[in-house]
Symmetry: C2
Subunit: 232 residues, 2 copies
Amino acid sequence: MPRDPAVVLVSGGMDSCVAAAIARQTYDCAFLHIDYGQRTESRELRAFRAIADHYSIARRLEVSLRHLRAVRGSSLTDPSMPVPRADLQRSGIPDSYVPFRNGGMLSVAVSWAEVIGARAVVIGAVEEDSSGYPDCRAAFFEAFNVAIERGTRPGRAPVIQTPVISLSKRQIIQRGMELGAPFHLTWSCYQDEDLACGICDSCALRLRAFQSLGLDDPIPYRERPRYHPAEP
Amino acid sequence: MPRDPAVVLVSGGMDSCVAAAIARQTYDCAFLHIDYGQRTESRELRAFRAIADHYSIARRLEVSLRHLRAVRGSSLTDPSMPVPRADLQRSGIPDSYVPFRNGGMLSVAVSWAEVIGARAVVIGAVEEDSSGYPDCRAAFFEAFNVAIERGTRPGRAPVIQTPVISLSKRQIIQRGMELGAPFHLTWSCYQDEDLACGICDSCALRLRAFQSLGLDDPIPYRERPRYHPAEP
């Protein structure tokens, strides 16, 4: 029996790669990548294409939302703001927050989903152990689902699914390992494109999770600080 | 006292021009125009710039959402679909519906609003007497407002305002006349860029409304069918 189509947002990072691995179990996946003018976009795009090739995804769409660079307001898109060194104890919304980015990305996914008849839009957002971004919270996606239901053709509304939202980075790696997700093809660094810096928030969260599992992260780093305390 | 900033979505058409005229009474307006790959974009962009010049708007942003052309699904963006001749009795969702376009446009506006500290996002959507588009209904904007509240920095959420949503086209013209809105600078035709066709849905709704008020629409038409029955 043919499977229902779903649109999967795939940034090229670890979380969306595992979300895609989960989605593939149920859906005929169409992969969507968004260029929002982030510093590392060319590296992320390469990761997106490699993951899509790995899974033999025929339906792919690469979309530009580069106005998110034009409006600035984030260290990920504004060249005049430095990418801060990781501080995993910091609370609040980090400088890397891109204003309402997920609203824009979901809207693209919903438009495409409505045209191809996809019943789901899958996004690898993570609420805990991650970012503090307001547009990564389950409450946001619930509200956006109501807007989708009301703002699309009757009977055609896709539903946002967030398969990793309540997982820790550590659990995401475990789930991805079970499913054979191609971590070696992913890219998470906020700052660099050849060797991951190892010291931005995104690298730190990723390295700490691999370290806590006693695993080697298979991508190349310039430095690999120890973020997870060794067992006594 | 300086006025609060607001982001106003200005397509170049009549409804958003009047929405902008209303918004100017309260807010320090920043104008946002979206290119979504519609057939008449170059003419609409010209109208946007003329309206922004007319109102001496300093903060302007022109953004591309041309993926809405790439995904197709609408006669406004898909060159292989004809723009239908107006049928003002037709019910249901017309071919010109662009899937979840307003979700995408509002997301751009919200991202910009969050960066410039705008408290409102103004959109000239019209629910009745217009289009049958699901993403033009008040219920959609209410739901989207909840998503904005949850998906932006605490205390920075702008509120979507729809000052013409419950007006008829006729009432929109009356309101615009009271406010001196520059109708002569607007463009509504779905099909053409030099002379408005006079026969697409958008031209028909506009012409009927001017005719019902006994007024001449100040823009040039190739043909001006009579849509409003003359009084007996």
